[in-house]
């Protein structure tokens, strides 16, 4: 029999003050920009100063976020580490590329190259925890984190592991932002957080973050929610979205009526947000709806912020006003559906249930 899977600990370093697990979006940082960066936790409390000096930001954020999740779950070790990241420690990749070009392939040092490996974060966490178990890194755009979730759910469901650390991390880096602004993926002009969905312009506000979760097949007293199902689709035609969602729900014993809240990945890109409208104006028209990318920014693993948000909402039984997308009366959510896509590709559906 396939075992149920639970979220037993969470950690977040994001553009909001989420690194403190005791709070839940009581204070919200508003932005008016085209890119947003994380609110730095006290890295010194987690990483020796000498080591931190040349450490990629992605590793630093992940160190804090993963430690927070492990502490939250009361774990000091895990059986497997699975990380999703669209671009890895891209800051180091870009520094290495520019050094190759600027110095004509001479006088290069290995640190930047080493940290450019997409699996640097999962490798570093393994070294930190002395974890010799399964260690994977998924790098598939907007479903990088969901790929990690699917992998973890398979292992835990089959009891091949008891505790798995799953995370998503991405950095905001100037060259990447600037090139993606050229092709219209990043907004040309600043947008205020609370006006993101009314920008009526193409592109997103690019952000960054590191979100880690401990998952297990035993329901602990600290468990946040049950991870009921995850599914990803490389492409999905807009006219197929509704039937796909219905089939996904049915597969997991849910119906639109049994869903209390939908958490959507709207990022204010006028060219692609209509995917979400299919659901918000369709089968979930009357449902309470939430969104979060005005708080986190958009990045390949931004959906892990959505996952964090849903876990928090299920644990606390509250839906912060700042994430409410419509005016449907919000009750204490018991079952949440998350839907995300990026630029019409890499769609993901996740169901979380109160446990």
């Amino acid at each position: 029999m396939v075992k149920p899977v639970y979220i037993t600990g969470i950690g977040s370093v994001s553009a909001q003050k989420t690194y403190d697990n005791e709070t839940f979006l009581e204070e919200v940082r508003a932005y008016s920009d085209t890119t947003i960066t994380v609110l730095d936790p006290d890295y010194k409390a987690y990483i020796p100063r000498a080591a931190a000096r040349r450490m990629a930001k992605g590793i630093k954020m992940s160190t804090v976020s993963s430690k927070t999740a492990l502490d939250d779950a009361g774990l000091t070790k895990v059986d497997a580490i699975i990380v999703g990241t669209g671009l890895g420690c891209i800051g180091d990749s870009e520094k290495f590329v520019s050094a190759i070009i600027d110095n004509k392939e001479q006088f290069l040092t290995p640190t930047r190259f080493i940290q450019s490996s997409h699996n640097t974060v999962s490798g570093q966490i393994a070294i930190g925890l002395g974890c010799k178990g399964y260690n994977y890194t998924y790098v598939h755009s907007a479903i990088s984190f969901e790929s990690a979730l699917i992998d973890a759910q398979m292992q835990l469901g089959a009891e091949e592991a008891d505790h798995i650390l799953v995370g998503g991390v991405d950095e905001v880096v100037a060259h990447h932002v600037n090139t993606h602004r050229l092709i219209g993926h990043v907004k040309q002009n600043p947008v205020a957080s609370d006006a993101l969905l009314r920008s009526n312009t193409p592109g997103c506000v690019m952000g960054e973050g590191a979100h880690f979760f401990t998952l297990g097949h035993k329901k602990t007293s600290s468990a946040y929610a049950e991870l009921v199902g995850v599914r990803t689709y490389n492409t999905l035609a807009e006219e197929k979205l509704e039937e796909t969602v219905l089939a996904f729900l049915e597969e997991h014993g849910e119906t639109p009526e049994s869903i209390d809240l939908v958490v959507l990945g709207n990022n204010g890109d006028v060219a692609y947000d209509h995917y979400y409208a299919v659901l918000t104006k369709g089968i979930f028209n009357e449902h309470p709806q939430a969104y979060y990318k005005h708080l986190s920014g958009e990045f390949d693993t931004a959906s892990a912020f959505g996952f964090w948000l849903a876990a928090k909402m299920l644990r606390t039984g509250t839906v912060p006003t700042v994430v409410q997308l419509n005016r449907a009366p919000v009750k204490k959510p018991k079952t949440i559906l998350l839907y995300n896509q990026y630029r019409g590709e890499n769609h993901s559906l996740v169901v979380l249930r109160q446990c």
Binding site: H118, N135, Y138
Partner: protein, 391 residues
């Protein structure tokens, strides 16, 4: 199966080169690097334009990783006789480290001067090569993901694919990887001082480091159910797999190969067989001082000093990074099909630390099981176990 490497443009050509001991290592011709006289590489002969022509794409459409990946994946799907990709729940899992870096490094500054190369901007995402492969296969509304665990990426793609079929999430999955040569990796490995200036010599005492290579290779995995329904001839079975982490150093393997031992032991455990039942080991054998010593020690531990016939095929192809595990999975299946142990070229003297001697000539013997190792940065160690029979 489908493959494109320095020793052939398809499976048949690769097999011919392996069985005639014809390596594909040469000086680099397609990348203008200042290191060109200091390194040897395993380069795919075709130019990007030729690859694009083969795919019916306009010039300068895609990065080289995406081009070779699409060609190899198409060969695999054709070889598997798949008429309708969506008849069964089909997925695509690809490993890559370089992705579209070849184009990114060429146009890093150009992007700001003119818009001629803007179509390559998004290619920097590792997942972009997988997306293009899915596109050329016509795979839609399906599970498609990318794994990047350095040099074990494609081996891990195969491992995940096998698990997804086992768990019932997929009926069929195209697994493998793609990595082209780039200045990025040439210079990166150069700074680590593990590039040989001559032909790489796996497991030799005088080994001087690795030759970088480029390749794309994919295999089609299908469930028992699909095989039964379609009455297909099975090329081989993924019987075992194991992934473990050395948790020792970001770029070096531990002296005693702890991670490698764990990976091999897990694979044997999943397959439910003893180490003595392995007929051939296709070793990672990159020819770096560190890898070959660590892997050698790990093999001695797992096989309790009675290491079966083993060889590294890196002297043929160079180290194809993310793709290595898929290239060597194809070679492992070819070994099983043809009852052949491929030679470990360029080996002369056993290492001073132990007396391990790889198989240096083509050897014909009955093969039932092959174990294939792939190890990467971040301490990532993966072992795959293939068998000829279902048992």
């Amino acid at each position: 199966m489908g493959i494109l490497s320095a020793i052939g443009n398809n499976v048949a050509e690769n097999y011919r080169s392996l069985s005639t001991a014809s390596p594909g290592i040469s000086r680099i011709t397609k990348i203008d690097t200042i290191h060109k006289n200091d390194i040897m590489v395993g380069e795919i002969p075709a130019t990007n334009s030729e690859l694009e022509k083969q795919l019916g794409l306009p010039e300068n459409s895609w990065s080289r990783s995406a081009l070779i990946g699409a060609i190899a994946a198409k060969e695999a799907v054709a070889h598997a006789n798949i008429a309708d990709l969506h008849e069964y729940r089909t997925g695509l899992i690809s490993g890559t480290t370089v992705g579209g870096m070849d184009k990114s490094e060429q146009h890093f500054y150009d992007y700001f001067d003119n818009d001629n190369e803007w179509h390559h901007i998004n290619g920097l995402h590792a997942g972009d090569s997988t997306k293009k492969i899915a596109q050329s296969l016509g795979l839609e509304a399906s599970f498609a993901t990318t794994i990047s665990t350095a040099c074990s990426s494609a081996a891990n793609a195969i491992l995940l694919g096998a698990r997804m079929i086992k768990s019932g999430r997929l009926d069929r999955v195209i697994v493998g990887g793609t990595d082209s040569l780039s200045k990025f990796t040439i210079n990166g490995f150069k700074t680590l001082m593990i590039l040989s200036d001559t032909y790489n010599t796996p497991f030799d005492d005088q080994r001087k480091g690795l030759n970088l290579g480029e390749a794309a290779a994919y295999l089609v995995l299908e469930s028992d159910k699909v095989v039964k329904k379609t009455q297909k001839a099975v090329l081989g079975y993924v019987k075992g797999y194991g992934n473990a982490n050395d948790a020792f150093h970001q770029t070096a393997s531990s002296e005693n190969g702890d991670g490698a031992v764990l990976a091999m032991e897990k694979a044997l455990q999943v397959a439910g067989i003893a180490a003595t039942e392995i007929d051939y080991v296709n070793a990672h054998g990159t020819a770096t001082p560190n890898n070959d010593l660590s892997e050698g020690r790990a093999m001695l531990r797992v096989f309790e000093n009675k290491v079966p016939d083993f060889s590294s095929t890196k002297a043929f192809t160079g180290h194809t990074l993310a793709t290595a595990g898929a290239v060597e999975a194809v070679y492992s299946i070819l070994a099983l099909q043809n009852n052949t142990v491929f030679p470990n070229l360029n080996f002369k003297t056993p290492m001073s630390e132990f007396q391990l001697r790889p198989q240096t000539t083509l050897k014909t013997k009955e093969l039932h099981t092959v174990l294939s190792n792939s190890f990467g940065f971040g301490g990532n160690c993966t072992t795959l176990l293939f068998s000829k029979e279902a048992w």
